[in-house]
């Protein structure tokens, strides 16, 4: 362990800085094109390191054409359109398809067939009613950290239901992330787990981690695919699509992406996936919102997650709003 002469540390730091800057500049419009980069918040070389975390190696610049990069960009880019304030309040969305449902779930009845799509007898007259704790014995919950919280701080539910939930889960990776622990101790994906186990009800709440990724259309498409796949694997289960829970006003007013306008827009889009026959849309926000439609400040420490005692509200909402067939 001799003491080396010269100044290897500075030299290598400088070389590394120059190299990574060059690579980042070269890839800026290529493989890193999708990253929203702001020169004020970080030096350009940060692009290369962000690439690493997604498994994009610098030498891919050489092999990857610009076009490919731009396809990627679509996936990564932030939706710029339609974040405006068009609210998704209680008015019905009356287009023409059979998939349409009323939004007014606060009254805890799903629109019966009073909409114009009467022609079809398929429209259900199921209404939401209160259920007891054992209703959840054959229920599965899929979701991100908020659902993790529900499992951790709602003992009555946790003892009965199954949870396939993980922090930072997104709709794009929900079925392919190995997160379900088997009896042998392996981790398998939700897709695999749903092939092995059947459930009576499947509740899903997901969509906040990816709120800055893609646009609403892209998100809803991915959501539809996931629901289709679950439907295929679990033909008998009632599927509940849960609207994404709101954030507090503080967060909503200060964050470009994570705000309630965006959440409402996406909730509106995924609510369209429900068919009211065996896929239903539930919006638990009424149980945790203040009069302005923001998450009540006192219920959250970080403006995003519920504090432990507040999970009870969510659970009670689910108990009040079940479908019995």
């Amino acid at each position: 362990m001799g003491q080396k002469k010269g100044h290897p540390l500075i030299i290598l730091v400088v070389i590394g800085t120059v190299l990574s800057t060059i690579i980042s500049i070269c890839g800026k419009n290529g493989i890193y094109a999708g990253y929203n980069y702001d020169f004020k918040s970080a030096p350009v070389l940060s692009l290369m390191f962000r690439g690493f975390s997604e498994g994009k190696m610098p030498w891919e610049i050489l092999t990857m054409g610009i076009n490919e990069g731009q396809n990627d960009a679509v996936e990564n880019s932030i939706s710029g359109n339609g974040i405006s304030g068009n609210s998704v309040s209680g008015n019905s969305v009356s287009d023409n398809s059979i998939l349409d449902i009323e939004q007014g779930l606060d009254e805890s009845t799903i629109a019966d067939s009073s909409s114009e799509a009467d022609s079809s007898d398929l429209i259900s007259t199921y209404s939401l009613e209160s259920v007891d704790a054992d209703y959840f014995n054959d229920a599965l919950f899929i979701g991100d950290s908020r659902t993790v919280g529900l499992s951790e701080y709602c003992e009555e539910l946790d003892q009965r239901a199954t949870f396939y939930a993980k922090v930072s889960l997104t709709i794009y990776k929900v079925l392919d992330t190995p997160l379900v622990e088997t009896e042998e101790g392996d981790d398998i994906t939700i897709d695999e787990a749903l092939q092995q186990n059947q459930f009576g009800k499947i509740y899903i709440m997901i969509g906040l981690n990816e709120i800055g990724t893609g646009n609403t259309e892209y998100f809803a498409e991915a959501y539809q695919k996931v629901i289709n796949r679950i439907r295929e694997l679990q033909p008998e289960a009632i599927i509940y699509i849960q609207g994404i829970m709101h954030v507090t006003a503080d967060k909503s007013n200060s964050d470009e992406y994570v705000n309630n306008d965006n959440i409402n827009e996406r909730n509106e889009a995924i609510s369209q996936i429900a068919d009211n026959i065996n896929i239903f849309y539930l919006d638990m926000n009424s149980s945790v919102d203040d009069e302005n439609g923001d998450l009540i400040k006192d219920l959250s420490f970080d403006d995003i997650h519920l504090k432990a005692p507040a999970y009870e509200r969510w659970y009670n909402y689910l108990k009040e709003n079940g479908i019995k067939k």
Binding site: H7, P8, L9, N36, L47, R50, S168, F301
Partner: protein, 425 residues
């Protein structure tokens, strides 16, 4: 360097740069008279600096959020020490303007210290020792030695901050997310450890980075933390924690008040003054005053009771450092009274405080943050750090530092690009 520092400050806080410049010029003008031992000017300058700090603190926290010029707590303290040192003759040469302004606003220290003294500042080897060196080549090599060594300290500090403290900060935040009244008792204690280590490595890491940059530009290495957790008493802890602040209080508050040489009553009074002001300096909310008050009590108990017990006193002293200090940090961390009561109520679950508790939460936290806590605890052992420090110029350590540097860059790049990295839902 003065110009560079001004630009640095302007980028960080453009709105208040006029205040910094005005205070600097005002202090410099007065310093000329203070150098001639005119006491009234000394009093004026100290009153001015204290008022400036007080007004900003009170306004910043009580009335207008954000009315707190960056680094105000640090540069006003530097100004006070500068004036007193001039008056006492510790600064022997009449300071020139450029040096004064550079000293007040030098960029590595302006935001959070360390509070370097002016006479230490003047020991800059790059500025002064040029004449001793022969020729350009020697100087060149010497500069690079300095930069290389400063870089080592900088990387050590950066790693502590980015790889340890920032992760522990996530853990502390996650405890808040659960809600202070809903953590299990083991988790509340683990949380106290997480927060204590977070604070320590955040601050020690920052201080090492600042000291490292100082070394790069020729200043002596400023020791701001000297293994406080290996102390034998709370009093010793604070002689080794944020040393430049502690010694500032000792030299400019405690000793001028009479220190500990004027009887028990006055000693207690002086300690009380120091700790209330220290609490106040950290923030105007009640928890900082409470924090300062508790430390005052602990130090008094040590001085007048434990000091008389031999072996038992030493054991209790160590326990105080390792058990009571983390509790005082919890008080330091939580500014809301009812939240603080909830948290302490969970640490000492005899009062029936608590709701919706998941008693298995501790295992999740140990799993997620255990490795950072262990890394932090290892670095608390003085021999461990000293070994690294002593061998820092070895090839193997150079490779380690280089690796750490790029890991930190990786981590920071992703934190910036992805706002959710430190906050994933």
């Amino acid at each position: 360097m003065a110009a560079g520092s001004l630009v640095f400050y302007a980028i960080a806080d453009f709105n208040f740069i006029w205040l910094l410049i005005a205070a600097t010029i005002f202090n410099y003008v007065l310093a000329n008279s203070i150098f001639e031992r005119k006491k009234e000017y000394l009093i004026i300058s100290i009153c001015f600096d204290i008022m400036l700090l007080l007004i900003c603190k009170i306004f910043g926290q009580a009335y207008i959020k954000g009315f707190l010029p960056i680094g105000i707590s640090f540069y006003t303290f530097k100004m006070i020490s500068y004036q007193i040192d001039i008056y006492k003759g510790i600064i022997s040469e009449k300071p020139d303007f450029i040096r004064t302004i550079t000293y007040f606003i030098m960029f590595p220290q302006i935001t959070s210290g360390p509070i370097m003294r002016y006479n230490v500042f003047c020991e800059n080897t790059l500025l002064d020792n040029n004449e001793d060196k022969k020729g350009w080549k020697d100087n060149f090599s010497y500069y690079f030695d300095q930069i290389e060594d400063g870089l080592r300290y900088f990387i050590m500090g950066l790693s502590m901050k980015v790889l340890i403290a920032d992760h522990l900060a996530m853990g502390w935040k996650e405890i808040g997310t659960i809600g202070y009244s809903s953590v299990s008792t083991p988790l509340s204690w683990f949380g106290a450890v997480i927060y204590s280590l977070n604070l320590y490595f955040d601050f020690w890491g920052y201080s090492l980075m600042a000291a490292g940059i100082g070394v790069m530009i020729g200043f002596p290495f400023v020791i701001n933390f000297d293994h406080p957790y290996s102390s034998k008493s709370v009093a010793e802890f604070y002689r080794r924690w944020h040393i430049t602040l502690g010694s500032w209080f000792k030299d400019y508050v405690y000793i001028p008040l009479g220190g500990s040489r004027q009887g028990k009553g006055k000693t207690i009074r002086n300690l009380f003054m120091v700790w209330v002001i220290t609490g106040f300096w950290h923030g105007v909310t009640f928890n900082f005053i409470l924090w300062g008050g508790i430390l005052f009590l602990l130090i008094c108990i040590e001085k007048f009771i434990l000091g008389k017990l031999n072996v038992a006193g030493k054991i209790i002293g160590r326990l105080n450092v390792l058990v009571l200090i983390p509790i005082t940090w919890v008080i330091f961390a939580i500014s809301n009274a009812s939240d603080l009561i909830s948290y302490l109520g969970r640490m000492f679950p005899f009062f029936g405080i608590g709701e919706s508790i998941n008693y298995l939460d501790i295992s999740k936290f140990v799993g997620n943050y255990g490795c950072y806590v262990i890394a932090g605890l290892l670095l608390l052992i003085p021999t461990f750090y000293d070994y690294i420090n002593k061998n820092r110029k070895n090839t193997i350590f150079s490779i380690v530092f280089l690796g750490l540097f790029w890991i930190c860059v990786y981590s920071m790049s992703n934190a910036v690009g992805n706002p959710f990295m430190y906050l994933r839902f």
